[in-house]
Amino acid sequence: MNRAWGGIEGSAGAPEIEGPYPGLRPFLAEEAEIFFGREQMADEVLVRLNERHMVVVHGTSGCGKSSLIAAGVLPQLAKRRARRGLTLNVGSFRPGSRPMQSLVATIAGEVAGGTAPADMQKVYAAIAQRQGARPELARLAKAAGIDQLCIIVDQFEELFRFAEDESFEEAERFAETLVALAGASDRPADWWEEGGEGDGVLATEAKEAQISFLLTMRSEFLGDCSRYPRLAEAINRTQYLLPNMERSDLIRAIREPAEVFGGTVDHALAEKIADDAGREQDPLPLVQHALMKLWRASDNGALDLSGYEQALAASGQSEALRQKSPLSAILADHADAVLAQATKGESDRLAATGFIFRALTRKDSEGRAIRCPQRYARLEKVSGVGPQVTREIVDCFRREGVSFLTPYEAMQAEIDPATVIDISHEALIRTWPRMSDRTIDPETAQPVGWLEREAQEAMVWRWLVLHAKFFRTNNSAYLDGTTTDRLGDWFQTVKTRPEWARPYLLHGEGKEDVREEPEWKAVDGLLEESRRRTWLERNMVRRWKKLGWWSLVLLAVALVGVVAAGVQGYSMWSKAQALRSLEAARQSTANSLYVTANVTLEKNTKRRAGSNPAEDELVDPGVAAVASGGAEGTMLVINRKSGYIWIGATRGNGTLSHIVRSDGRSLPPAAVERGGSYRIRGNLTVREGPPGADGQPAEAIGLIADNTLVTAVEPPIPAPGAAGYWLRALLVPTKLPNVRLLHAGDEETAAASAGNFTDLGYSVAASDDASARGRWEVLYCREEDRGAALRLAAIASRELAQTHGLEARTVAPVRGSDCPAPGEPGLRLIVDFSAAAS
């Protein structure tokens, strides 16, 4: 039994209550003594309960349903029963995720808790009966020494969520059982059924216990009840819409609790608070909260108007809020103070608190702020600060006297990962500027309030998911540059808390890690691809502007090159592709290599079609290879993706050795920013990931040539256990095939060279071969190896020149006649190392 309903059986004793005002949380059963102003309503509920055996108390959220039952109805019922020497057993549950089980367990638990032993098998059987369940259970309960059994179903509306998410059938059975047990349906027994159910007369000598059900529900769910057979009729007969408190009752609720504790609230203050309550949407919790603050701040328990005005004047809230909603201002002030305690001035704690509160709120379809309870385990995931700090933050907000989050410390001291955490009251969401402020922060261009930010980001995410779906079918639907920049940056922050996205998945597959969800991958893919294209287009456009008329010349050269290469599809070239060729031209002047882009989507399509991914990454006939403006045959067709490269250690002046700014100036590691463009120094091997903790490099996935521009995906990562840095970058690695190295000359030099090629990502099998003497060439056999041969030739020229000083000749690709056997390396690199510098 939840503590809210506990402790009602006892008679009057000294109150063990903290103070006369519970603040935001509802009243507990033991607080009946300080519960004033709702006497008429409690009486009405009791009258109905006596006559109908079931009462559905409904009203808006936060109107005090739970308090009324816990501190009004049940204590009164218990005392009335005790006055006559009758026993009352009260059980309570929320439908939650196992309504039927909870119902049975609660009833059985209470019957078992009677003064006499009960046959539990019979109890279970009685509950399961469709007809006659109520009298049978009443007899069993009576036999167990119980005169009245009262079952509270708190937050009955949870049943409708259960029906939607889990099982409508079980929900239906639950409703049917409940109605049958309560005897609340007015359906007359059909002629073939056993006769009507007698209402147990409540007296010590009666043979049956009285069984009653008290349900609480939010009024907006009344309509949902009609979907369940006989439930609607039962509700019609038993509903009680909780009215607003009259002003005179409100004044009593303000003044009288203090008197129980020997204090006073002066009339002027009570009138002022009642006036201010009239300006609030759901005033009761706010009134209780303000009084609790005043009571705690008071030395002598004499609360007066001046104390209230001082508290307001001292509040750090805006003049407008203080004028318009003084009670809200007091709440907001308190919330700010608790926030300051919870965050201790640390920005990561502040961010974590923001994400916790964002996870706990939502806007409904009409834009109203509503609560969104979460399991504690999820809050740990979205907070991004680890279990201990998350726990500290959550505990800070659920302390007694704070009660901004449930379960309140006063009701449940410890929480575990499965505990459902909730915001205690929607008033907090609506009135705390930290949550609800809609003004746009000029720095971040985002709303200041967490709730607003959450709502906006949820919309962005969903839009991205939908767009990513569209992008799958239409590869030209990538995002434009501005959108990519903004959303790309935003998505980087989402990646630090992937769990955030879970509630916004349109069709989640329930993966443990949100990043494994197809929708996440689709969004990631869309942004990655959009970033790649944006980068290309921007750089090309910039070049175009910079180069002026020269660009036209270069474009012409590029076009001529294309024609010369005999590539088809001129008419298919879009403007973007023309720009890409321009970029290619620029690259060629720097590298003697031509670069062209591949389209990820086409690659994906091909993969789905079952072709060889290794080839897909290299050859893209749709985009076409671009012919060289330099040495014949030095052509590369490469594909841009992300990979890790070693960008070197810092040199004496603190700058990195293997990376410079795009304009050639060197830079320190701290200046490498996400999204920035940098130029590579030296041929670098591209690896799948950063080195492991042991310093071992990850697998090579290709090569990135000297002087190529790359885009940093993340800031540099310090190399484990060594000086220097790794960088994850968007780049165009070349995928390297197996090579047989036939060499002449110095064996050792040849082995070193083979090692160098292996380091670059080639698989090299080297052998001494006399026929290599005097030859420097790459031999290929099949036409499809031509591209790879060209690339190997280009790299080998550079490699042999740089490492072994073999500058005299350029390695040239040659079509050979003797093809290797299938499975054998398709390329042969034939080099005479005789002239190599040792």
Binding site: S11, A12, P15, E33, F36, G37, R38, E39, Q40, D43, L46, V47, N50, E51, Q76, K79, R80, A82, R83, R84, L202, S248, D249, R252, R255, E259, V260, T264, H267, A270, Q323, K324
Partner: protein, 380 residues
């Protein structure tokens, strides 16, 4: 129409609460040429007659009374305040509500400014809550002209009021016409709605002041140790005890309710319980007959606390309550302290001059009743 000022003892709806007029009609004469006549004055006077007719149609008793100043005012005269000022200001102070006929002329009029100022200044001293005391009838368009602060809300927005001209028209309906008893149809709805609002506000003030007066009377009644009726609670199985106390009170001339002790099953008989509560609400105090300790413990809670709270909520009646411990053996410290927490006193007849002590007890309970009702302590 001159009768308001000629009557020696003014009778009006709120007259019993010390008001001389229910409504003071404040309007600018706009008598620029000094002839004593102007279209706005004519319109305002006709408006006054129509409003008065509408108000009187609600059949309030006594009939509401509205003040209208018909004396000629020369806005441009040198001595603008004139000798009438003190008398007018006094009348404003004795009026419950201020009805303003809004026009550009009103905003410029020194007379009207003084009337408004006087009304606002006397508001804190007026009896009853100060809210909704200014009624604005928008006669001539004042779009774009600032209103006095007193006529705007906290955020500086003009009070909504009732509009008597079309949104796109400058002059009100019935302008420059003699409408006599026939209100121009376009302004009928606004006039009726406004009159209804005034009527409701008058009734609210009346109810508020009547409640206050009744409470004061009750408090002073208790202060004198007087009680007309006392609710005597006892269980039917303690009939003898109950009868004895009932006779004691009867001898003092105090009527005892109900006529017999309560049966126990009243807890489950809602109709009976409601009747007992209603009876109790008609009494001046409650006395609980203490016979058995255990029973008393439950009764203190269920009747002494809960039922009295229900009566306080439902009938707005606070009943002073005491346990009469005839045997003198029930007054265990825990029980007495419980009772005190519920606001229940303890009378031990053996230790006092019972039943005459009841007067002393009633006098002593007067303070807590006063405190609960917020009735001010009379000046010594």
């Amino acid at each position: 129409m001159n009768e308001p000022r000629t009557e020696p003892a003014p009778q009006c709806f709120l007259g019993r609460h010390g008001y001389h007029f229910d409504l003071f009609l404040s309007y600018a004469h706009a008598d620029v040429d000094g002839t004593g006549e102007s279209p706005l004055k004519t319109w305002s006077q006709q408006f006054y007659r129509s409003l008065l007719a509408a108000l009187r149609s609600f059949q309030l008793e006594p009939l509401p009374r509205v003040f209208l100043d018909e004396a000629p005012r020369q806005e441009n005269a040198l001595n603008r305040a004139g000798h009438l000022a003190p008398e007018l200001i006094e009348t404003v102070g004795k009026s419950a509500l201020l009805q303003i006929v809004m026009s550009p002329h009103y905003l410029k009029s020194e007379w009207c400014r003084r009337e408004l100022e006087a009304f606002v200044n006397t508001l804190p001293d007026k009896r009853g809550s100060a809210k909704d005391r200014l009624i604005i009838a928008k006669a001539i368009d004042t779009e774009g002209q600032p209103w006095p602060e007193a006529l705007c809300d906290a955020e500086g927005n003009k009070t909504v009021g009732w509009q008597y001209h079309d949104p796109d028209k400058y002059f009100p309906h019935g302008w420059m016409t003699e409408w006599g008893r026939h209100i121009p149809p376009q302004m009928g709805a606004a006039l009726f709605d406004m009159a209804h609002f005034i009527k409701r506000r008058l009734e609210q003030i009346d109810a508020e002041l009547t409640e206050k007066q009744k409470k004061s009377e009750l408090v002073s009644w208790l202060e004198q140790g007087q009680a007309e009726r006392i609710y005597l609670y006892g269980r039917s199985d303690d009939e003898a005890e109950w009868d004895a106390v009932s006779q004691d009170l009867d001898r003092l001339g105090i009527v005892v309710y109900p006529g017999e002790p309560e049966p126990l099953d009243v807890d489950d008989d809602s109709a009976k319980r409601a009747q007992y509560a209603r009876l109790a609400s008609r009494c001046d105090a409650m006395v609980m007959v203490g016979a058995d300790g255990l029973k008393l413990d439950f009764d203190l809670d269920v009747v002494g606390r809960e039922r009295r709270n229900l009566i306080a909520s439902k009938y707005k009646k606070y009943l002073p309550c005491a346990v009469l411990d005839r045997s003198g053996s029930l007054a265990r410290p825990a029980r007495v302290s419980n009772a005190r927490r519920f606001g229940i006193d303890w009378i031990d007849p053996n230790a006092c001059d019972w039943p005459n002590y009841i007067k002393v007890w009633l006098q002593s309970s007067a303070d807590s009743v006063r405190q609960r009702y917020g009735v001010e302590t009379p000046a010594p």
